[in-house]
């Protein structure tokens, strides 16, 4: 298990990011060559092409980078916090809670790009509090396997409530809410990108500040405390920041699972587990991963567009299965 040297790794991140941006910008219904694309980006060339690039594809790619990055960072932080490499905002019920909060807001007629994340944030905080309580019932010390189980159950419960709300809510808006919940980066535009960036920034800053504490927390709470971490404070901050990031991502683009599982895992293999480097790398790679997944979702059965969550699940679930088998085998050894 040798790690990549820093230079090679940074180069890899840059290449992945640029390649993802290009793939994201050239794929779509209208056929645009590389030449048209570069002209449109430079503000020259055909007006239709400029319109497509500037108001459809660029915001979509920007949104993909942000959503993927934010979910990957939240996943990486949660993995250290609950000391389980299988953790992710989706599996811990945060995404489900966010979705429920946002759907409630839509049902109440609060549909702005700025109100939805706030409602989703409340939903995700409630979800993580319930998950935490459920996992504590089993004993005073937190068992991360039970935590994950509780997360899946709470996520399923939130999903059931969402179905119920959609069934009784007014017909208008319900269809769009359902489409949105399936997860997708389309039709958001620059306003959505700006709202996501504004909500995510404080969450990212908090997690960056706690990244050294996350290194210690992955040793266990007791050693972390003795090495100088205020464990209670760090845990609260990380839970709240991860909830905020998940809520912002879900509010802008629905529920997209497994980005927070797959991407941090890849970075951990390539570069190890120091969260000071892991979080920014996961942000870059998570963004690239989601932009490419979105391009695949748009083109693989064109003209039909698949929800991008289908693609991330196709990558994430087999990975989850492999990790699960490995951790069970490790526990048995």
């Amino acid at each position: 298990m040798r790690r990549l040297p820093t230079g090679t790794f940074v180069l890899l991140l840059a290449v992945a990011w640029l390649a993802a941006a290009l793939i994201g910008l050239v794929s779509g219904g209208a056929r645009l060559g590389l030449g048209d694309l570069l002209q449109a980006l430079g503000g020259r060339g055909d007006e239709t092409a400029r319109g497509i690039v500037w108001s459809v594809r660029l915001p979509r790619v920007a949104l993909g980078f942000l959503v993927g990055g934010v979910l990957a960072v939240a996943g990486a932080a949660l993995q250290a916090l609950v000391r389980n490499p299988l953790a992710d905002p989706y599996l811990l019920g945060l995404s489900g809670g966010s979705g429920l909060g946002a759907v409630l807001a839509i049902a109440l007629g609060l549909e702005s790009a700025w109100a939805l994340p706030a409602a989703a944030f409340i939903g995700s905080l409630v979800a993580i509090a319930v998950v935490y309580r459920l996992a504590l019932v089993a004993g005073s010390t937190l068992d991360s396997r039970i935590l994950l189980l509780a997360g899946v159950v709470v996520g399923a419960f939130a999903g059931a409530l969402v179905s119920g709300i959609l069934a009784v809510a007014e017909a208008t808006g319900v269809r769009s809410a359902m489409l949105w919940l399936m997860g997708g980066l389309g039709g958001v535009g620059w306003a959505g990108v700006a709202a996501l960036a504004a909500y995510a920034a404080p969450g990212l800053a908090v997690l960056a500040r706690e990244s050294r504490a996350l290194n210690l927390l992955s040793l266990g709470e007791e050693p972390a405390r003795y090495l100088g971490t205020d464990v209670g404070r760090s845990k609260r901050r990380v839970y709240i920041a991860a909830s905020l990031l998940t809520a912002a991502a879900v509010a802008s683009s629905g529920i997209i699972g497994f980005v927070g599982l797959a991407v941090p895992h890849a970075v951990r293999i390539l570069r190890g587990h120091d969260h000071r480097g892991l979080l920014p790398s996961a942000f870059v790679l998570g963004g690239a991963f989601l932009v490419v997944a979105d391009a695949v979702a748009r083109t693989v059965v064109a003209p039909i567009e698949l929800p991008v969550g289908v693609i991330t699940a196709l990558v994430g679930v087999p990975l989850f299965a492999v990790l699960l088998r490995r951790s069970v085998r490790r526990a048995a050894a």
Partner: protein
């Protein structure tokens, strides 16, 4: 030793006298009661640990050793009495400040992600570097010194999950030393070690106490090893401190038989050390121990 001010002891040493021991840990008439428990976990317990002194905390299971440790480290509130570290109430210390004075090797620790020995020891610098600052030369010197001191420098690039039990314990002592503390607390440090690794670890701690004048507080079930290395044994039973003196004074057959509810004999070795030998006795004759 760090460049921080080291108060009375340094002043005395600088003035040319012998180092004056400083009280590092003080527990005085401390009582701890856990919510829902029938009786107190610790009742009026008093003992202290000074710099340059190795104290072993011994006693049967559930006697209150861990509670005493937690009270001293400010993790369990007292009902009455006081618990202090370096003259300040234990509960009043910020974790970061306490970690610069006291290194703790906890009983259990399982890193969930693979890390190298160097990364593990560098984590000892958290309390000095804080959340942002990158490790500087002072940090790296402290890490290198700690690794040399605990004899783990050659293991630097190894993954901790590949270490033997003895190596891993030495790495954790190195990490505690990287904190540049005045005191070490070790909770059952040799519970899973074989004879030679146990002796190596205790020799290391004894050396740190003698030469670096650290204070060491060790919780151990291994009475005889503790008796050979500790300056004092503090015996806890039923939440009370029932003895606190040099090992050859404390290890007295009648008292220890009562504390451990099992007949023991005591023998003095050639070098004066006192050792404890449990006697054989059929199970049915244990008084007050109902058969399950």
């Amino acid at each position: 030793m760090s460049v921080q001010d080291r108060s009375a002891e340094d002043l005395a040493t600088a003035a040319g006298g012998a180092p004056v021991p400083t009280d590092v840990f003080v527990l005085e008439r401390a009582t701890v009661r856990y919510p829902g428990a029938s009786g107190p976990a610790l009742e009026g317990a008093s003992f202290r640990v000074r710099t340059g002194e190795c104290v072993a905390l011994v006693g049967p299971n559930g006697a209150g050793k861990t509670t005493a440790l937690r009270a001293l480290l400010g993790l369990t509130p007292l009902v009455s009495g006081r618990a202090e570290v370096l003259g300040r109430p234990s509960a009043g210390w910020a974790r970061e400040a306490l970690a610069r004075e006291v290194g703790v090797v906890a009983q259990r620790e399982e890193p969930v992600f693979p890390i190298t020995v160097l990364e593990a020891v560098e984590m000892g610098r958290y309390a000095h570097a804080g959340p942002w600052r990158a490790l500087d030369t002072r940090d790296r010197d402290a890490v290198a010194r700690a690794m040399a001191r605990a004899d783990v420098a050659a293991l630097e690039d190894r993954w901790v999950e590949t270490l033997s039990g003895g190596e891993w314990q030495r790495v954790r002592v190195a990490r505690a030393l990287a904190q540049e503390p005045r005191a070490l607390v070790l909770d059952e440090p040799t519970a899973s070690l074989d004879l030679s690794h146990e002796m190596q670890l205790f020799e290391l701690i004894a050396d740190l106490v003698r030469h670096d004048r650290l204070a060491a507080l060790i919780v151990s079930h291994h009475l005889n090893v503790a008796a050979r290395f500790a300056d004092r044994l503090v015996v806890v039973a039923g939440g009370r401190v029932v003895a606190d003196a040099a090992p050859d004074v404390v290890l007295e057959a009648a008292r220890m038989s009562e504390v451990f509810a099992w007949p023991v004999a005591v023998q003095r070795l050639g070098d004066g050390a006192v050792q404890l030998y449990p006697e054989r006795q059929p199970l049915s004759s244990i008084p007050g121990e109902p058969t399950r």
